[in-house]
Symmetry: C2
Subunit: 288 residues, 2 copies
DNA sequence: GTTCCGCATGAATCGATAG
DNA sequence: ACTATCGATTCATGCGGAA
């Protein structure tokens, strides 16, 4: 399938002006956290985070289709020993802007960053907020169904002890790579808690979210050839997943370095995916 | 050890007046959610939830020691297709009142309520907020450490397949009842995500949260003979756990039925635990 | 003593129906 | 039009009884 992936280098608010009204099916993004990644983005102070974000979200509301969804991954930072309240205020601000706060998912980060502090434990979760423009949004629940707990239980009997542990985590997450092998089994709908490991192996860029996160929401809220937008593209994780899943995508990024990484990985992906397809066909042929 | 458990029948705000300033080490409670449990409680409308709760939390601030902690379990209800914002507003209100919002834990409810809807999945998590009076609160992190995966893995070999699955969940949560057996092994600190199943099997008293939840926070934030308060006692889960862990406790409950259940279970608990102890001693004797 | 099977039980939510 | 009530939907857990 031929999908288009338009990348823009520049400020989110400005570049969003170039996108037409009601043209995007899904916005999924993880904006730079308050005061985080200072060197890359300049770092918005927590106290000014909301006023910085609201003009951008207003544009997102404009470009999203009435049936579309806005997925926002964010987390409170610790400031002076307390969780800062900018996330709470942001939700309230978004609702005043006209967004419907449909749901809040929890991203449970299974292999979160290690560390020890005297007054708090490791932070192993992040918010994933779902906002909508109307109550009649599109949702394709069957695309993210997972095997039942009972089936997982009986399946374990055939595996080694070591595999049992590993596969148990896959079962409970539903994001195992071999999940396609399980599709013939009995399945259930997932919950609003997503168990996904962070990808720690990314060298060139500061890891934001794992591919499994945008993948899940792209499958859940879009069909092939729909349009996915990430206004804080980073190294292009969302766009790469969109490409892999045959969705069109738009990405905006202010950092030239990140922009270049995203651009290159997307260009490379196209010929690679074609190659793979050919190889599989030939393999099938040679087998028959 | 001889601990005291004082139960009060009546309205939380009024009965809190009878508690002295700076006398409580830990408040852990799960107030009736907005419009929930209507039959038992009046059912506070979501739009008036904050103004109903803030006078109560002001009293909690008064009775808590400067080194103490306030643990609040709560969840947004769906209202007209959206998550209601009363929880967000409550956090902001508590901070204005003088509370420090130290941390937010996630309670992952492994066996959440089933159901299917066109626009949302099953709700499998709840907030557990940690508030403090000062930054110098007491925290005993070692009391809630959990065994490492390696040791758990080797342990699994000795158990049945069925037990393996069930204990795996205990391992990842750290709330297994036999956790005391593991204390000699290598341990790690937990995260701020708590995996616990709700207790739906109890016939006599429908507890809103499982004993493991207050148990975890009581161990984490108090020592033996400290004072634990639950201003919405319900059937007395918090107080029973406090008794079992040799902490003193105070409980307030407005419903006579729940009050009676709590009272009875606490009275019964003492002789029962003594009996068990005697039995174990005799058993050990007879073996030797 | 184990293991397996069946069953009741939830801090739920939506949409239709009734007042 | 707006609110109250009810049926339908759905699944992990723990219990009891049976093999």
């Amino acid at each position: 399938m031929n999908t288009v992936h338009k990348l823009m280098l520049g400020d989110s608010f400005e570049k969003l002006q170039d996108i037409e009204d009601n043209s995007i099916d899904l916005v999924v993004t993880s904006p730079p956290y308050a005061d985080a990644r200072k060197k890359t983005y300049g770092g918005t102070h927590p106290d000014h985070y909301v006023e910085w974000f609201l003009p951008i979200s207003k544009e997102l509301l404009r470009v999203l289709k009435p049936t579309g969804t806005f997925i926002l991954n964010i987390k409170e930072r610790v400031s002076d020993g307390e969780r800062h309240t900018y996330v709470l205020e942001l939700i309230l601000g978004l609702r005043k802007q006209g967004w419907l706060w449909t749901e809040e998912f929890i991203w449970h980060k299974k292999n979160c960053y290690p560390g020890k502090w005297p007054n708090r434990f490791r932070d192993a979760w992040e918010h994933v907020f779902q906002f909508n423009k109307t109550k009649k949004f599109h949702m394709y629940q069957e695309e993210v169904m997972i095997p039942t707990g009972d089936w997982a239980r009986s399946r374990l009997k055939k595996l080694s002890d070591k595999d049992k542990i590993r596969d148990e985590s896959k079962v409970s997450s539903g994001f195992g790579k071999n999940i396609s092998n399980w599709l013939n089994r009995e399945k259930v709908y997932p919950t609003n808690v997503l168990h996904m490991a962070t990808e720690c192996g990314n060298k060139n860029h500061s890891a934001v979210f794992p591919e499994a996160l945008p993948e899940w929401f792209i499958k859940l809220f879009t069909q092939t050839e729909d349009y996915v937008l990430d206004p804080f593209m980073g190294s292009g994780t969302t766009n790469r997943v969109a490409q892999r899943l045959d969705r069109n995508s738009v990405g905006i990024e202010i950092s030239p370095e990140y922009y270049r990484i995203a651009e290159q990985s997307l260009r490379q992906a196209a010929p690679i995916s074609i190659m793979t397809l050919i190889k599989e066909k030939e393999y099938t042929k040679s087998k028959n």
